[in-house]
């Protein structure tokens, strides 16, 4: 049992958690680890590079013979583009990623404070730094927009609570601005995450209001105001995005993704999408379920956690398919693990508080070991994983080839480059018929087959190779003259369809192939090209939403509230709960 005055009974200041996040992640990001180990870092840098050169022109000729960047909310990419003017693209990505990572404990703390006391929230914040899913999303997935958007939404719902519960207009402004910024950062988080985070908080605000003896109807009314304003704001800020998805709803043949499979059918996938993202968090599952079920206050949080956890299991259960329908085939499910962890952490913080009070240093040590083991597993998995991204491939020789002697008058294709393709596209002037963003693909050679990219065609079996063959068949139409091969698997197809090897790069690891009769590329007319006014909106509103959010946070300081509801707490010396939350 820990005494009242023990060091272990003190709350952990948020600054400590932020510092720990910095201490762990800053060196790794300075080393630019995600560029070598993650799947999507190059992709986001590629998007950012376009904004760096054409801020108000969302039509990008470098992929898919032209595609619209309004198919992906731009905020993160525009921030990278902006910062890149001072420090370069790769470094800018790392800096923005570091900002997002630092915001995780901040948002975890803010969200946990709605449910539990300061000390438990402090534990939740600190543990969030070590969460396997954070490292997984940062270093393995490279999903910066997911991470940033999630943290912004978490912050937004804390203000949403404050507005709904106490009618604090400053909170309304800040919550709205943060919601718009979060929506501008990531669309999937906007569509699915916002409800998952907001609904339990709405329930909480109504409950707290009732316990104070006031009517919950006012809370509902204010929530409605918030919802309407947020929806209107998001509709305007992301208008070009809505136009693009209404004009071109995703109708392509579903593309297989491991996160959509039954995790129990394959050991590596099981480790990749369950063990690594959750780590020791899995040990806390029984406590989360029983503690969450045991307290009325925590039940909505538990249900949101459970729902998100089940979604994160992908195709292991049929529930995601039932709920999402066709969207199930479009989404990837690793992001749900981050939401599940952030939703579960307040209860884990409570558990930590209880165990530390009861077992003192032993419990603290246990949590420390579990936390370090979790992040270590996630980092170690970068090496042990059989799924290896190729983002670290040196493509400088290919860039140099494409940028000389008029080679950029033609389009190109890579085979076997995997996620080094966006790196090549970032620096090469020529355009490719391939690309790494499934939702922006409109070329029938891609959408009529169940393969994601030409560069990874072989991993999609017959569908992939047929898709690639169809594109090679239409090489003349697209001005596709050059193919760069980093996997000899594709060479026979090229030889039999009339391509000829002309150069080798990287000591023979990459070969360049040419089809001599291909005419120079011409622009492919597409009705997906946004109107100029959309480009102007796209260049101003999302970025403005984040600026406004920052300004509101600075200029409208929070008022000190007497309390927020009836926080769940672990009073000393007996491990019992506050009377109002006794079962």
């Amino acid at each position: 049992m820990v005494s009242e005055t023990s060091f272990l009974r003190r709350k952990i200041p948020l600054a400590i958690s932020v510092f720990v996040a910095l201490a762990i992640h800053a060196p790794l990001l300075i080393m630019q680890l995600p560029l070598r180990t993650s799947y999507d870092a190059n992709f986001h840098i590629f998007f950012a590079s376009h904004y760096a050169q054409h801020w108000f022109e969302p039509w990008n000729e470098k992929w898919f013979a032209g595609f619209s960047q309004t198919t992906y909310p731009p905020l993160v990419h525009q921030w990278i583009a902006l910062v890149s003017r001072a420090i370069g693209l790769d470094e800018a990505f790392m800096l923005v990623m570091l900002l997002a990572v630092i915001l995780i404990p901040v948002s975890a703390y803010g969200f946990a404070r709605l449910w539990v006391d300061e000390r438990a929230a402090g534990y939740a914040a600190l543990l969030s730094v070590f969460a396997g899913t954070v490292s997984f999303l940062v270093y393995s997935a490279g999903q910066l927009p997911t991470v940033l958007s999630c943290t912004l939404f978490l912050l937004a719902v804390t203000y949403f609570y404050q507005w709904a519960h106490a009618a604090e207009w400053r909170a309304l402004l800040k919550g709205l601005a943060l919601s718009l910024a979060a929506a501008s950062a990531h669309h999937v988080t906007l569509i699915f995450g916002s409800l998952i985070f907001a609904l339990p908080v709405l329930w909480l605000a109504m409950r707290d209001r009732r316990e104070e003896g006031a009517s919950a109807n006012a809370v509902l009314g204010r929530a409605l105001v918030f919802g309407v304003l947020a929806a209107a704001g998001i509709a305007v800020v992301l208008l070009p995005y809505w136009i693009s998805i209404i004009q071109h709803p995703i109708k392509q043949v579903p593309i297989p993704h491991a996160s959509r499979s039954n995790l129990l059918m394959n050991t590596n996938i099981f480790i990749n999408y369950l063990i690594v993202p959750y780590g020791a968090f899995l040990l806390a599952l029984p406590f989360i379920v029983f503690k969450g079920a045991g307290h009325r206050r925590l039940r909505p949080l538990l249900l949101a956690f459970w729902f998100t956890f089940i979604l994160g299991l992908g195709g292991t259960t049929p529930l995601p398919h039932w709920i999402l329908g066709r969207a199930f085939e479009i989404l990837t499910f690793e992001r749900f693990t981050l939401w599940a962890v952030l939703l579960g952490l307040p209860i884990v913080g409570l558990w930590a508080e209880e165990l530390i009070d009861r077992y003192s240093w032993k419990a603290a040590g246990g949590f420390a070991i579990a936390a370090v083991a979790t992040i270590s597993l996630a980092m170690g998995w970068l090496t042990w994983s059989p799924f290896r991204p190729t983002g670290g491939l040196d493509v400088s020789a290919v860039v140099e080839f494409l940028n000389r002697d008029g080679h950029d008058q033609y389009r190109y294709l890579t085979l076997g480059f995997g996620n080094a393709l966006p790196k090549l596209s970032t620096y090469a002037n020529a355009g490719s018929v391939d690309g790494e963003y499934n939702s922006a693909r409109l070329l029938p050679e891609m959408t009529n087959y169940g393969a994601a990219q030409f560069t990874t065609a072989k991993f999609f079996g017959t569908a992939g190779m047929e898709s690639l063959k169809m594109m090679l068949r239409h090489a003349n139409h697209y001005g596709l003259k050059y193919i760069f091969v980093y996997d000899a698997y594709y060479e026979p197809l090229l030889v039999f369809t009339g391509w000829r090897q002309i150069e080798t790069f990287n000591q023979g690891a990459i070969t360049a192939w040419v089809k001599d009769d291909v005419p120079p590329a011409h622009k492919i007319i597409s009705d997906a090209r946004p109107a100029p006014w959309e480009g102007v909106l796209w260049g101003i509103l999302p970025m403005a939403s984040s600026v406004v959010a920052i300004l509101f946070l600075i200029l409208l300081p929070d008022r000190r509230l007497a309390r927020i509801g009836n926080l769940l707490t672990i009073p000393a010396p007996e491990p019992v709960y506050a009377p109002e939350v006794q079962p």
Partner: protein, 368 residues
Amino acid sequence: MKASLALLLVMVTAALIALGWVQSGGVTSHEISAARTPEQAVEALMADVEAHNWNRAYARLADTGTVEKQDFIRDLSGSNGSLRTYSNLQSFTVWPLHATDEDATVRVRMTWSSAIGPMDDVRDLHLRHAGDVWTIDWPKPNFPKVPPQVIPVNYLRWDVIGRNAGDEWGVENVDTPNVRITSMNAIDRPEGLVLVGEVVNEDTVPAYVSVNATLLKPDQSTLDQESSFDMIAHTLLPRQVSPYRIDFPGMRIRQVKSVRMDVKSLLVPASADPVIAVANQKLGKDALGGNVLSGDLLNQSGQNVDIAQVVAAYYDANGKVIWVSNGYVDQALVPDFPVPFAVNIPKDIAPKVESYHLVVNHYSRKNG
């Protein structure tokens, strides 16, 4: 309430996971793995081959003494850089041909996803009932054994020296090869309009050749454009003739006013080696009753050919090209060892075929 909600969540989760397991085929795969019937035994073997689980696949064979494990693997996964080494088993279909209590014959059609597209391989497997399970008699594969020998490389190759970017205009003085389309025939097929014919290199240097066709509407605007793609020998040596076929899926001949043919030729480096003889060509039927042109490919040079492709033109009694088809060979061509091939011919075309002409394309990794 506390216990009931927790219990409910646990039970619902367990039920969902169980349902997911059933839906993902977990139960079926468990049953198949038991190999209680001949079909299950072959399906289990194929599932192991698909997963590259060679140990378990080999363990399903009846008499492992007759087939070495390495030979078994080599038989299925290929060797010598053959097309099979660029392939993965994508799917399979199994159906019984004959069964008693003691033995059975099962036909399996393996569809391989390969570097040049899907390929089918049909095999009839004999099985034996041993205890509770059925095991498979895998036929001993017949791999080429080439005696050590020296085969002189005596054929020709051509190199092309490119002009420099800084050269004056007019200095370049090597024209593109002179190639000519000698025949073209438009055929309406159920899958669309098909153009077939032949092209000859009339020059004295090798030519890279690609035949493109544009279908024109009555107002001379473009209806569709396609190319010969892999239905042609792209590199033609002097006086060499190649069939070509251009497919226009979904098009009908009545939609087309005229066709603009465009043969592109370019001077490219080439080699006259290897020379591949096509022996014992004959029209016949395959195991599934389809019409095929079959024969043997014989590599007459000393260098292995990893992957060979046969492109065949079929003529009617008037000498007109009525169809062109191609087929890839999934075994490597080692020197002087015949490798069988078969090229499909549509059922309605086969009776009209009076004659045919084949060319062989090839790929070897060593030469890129």
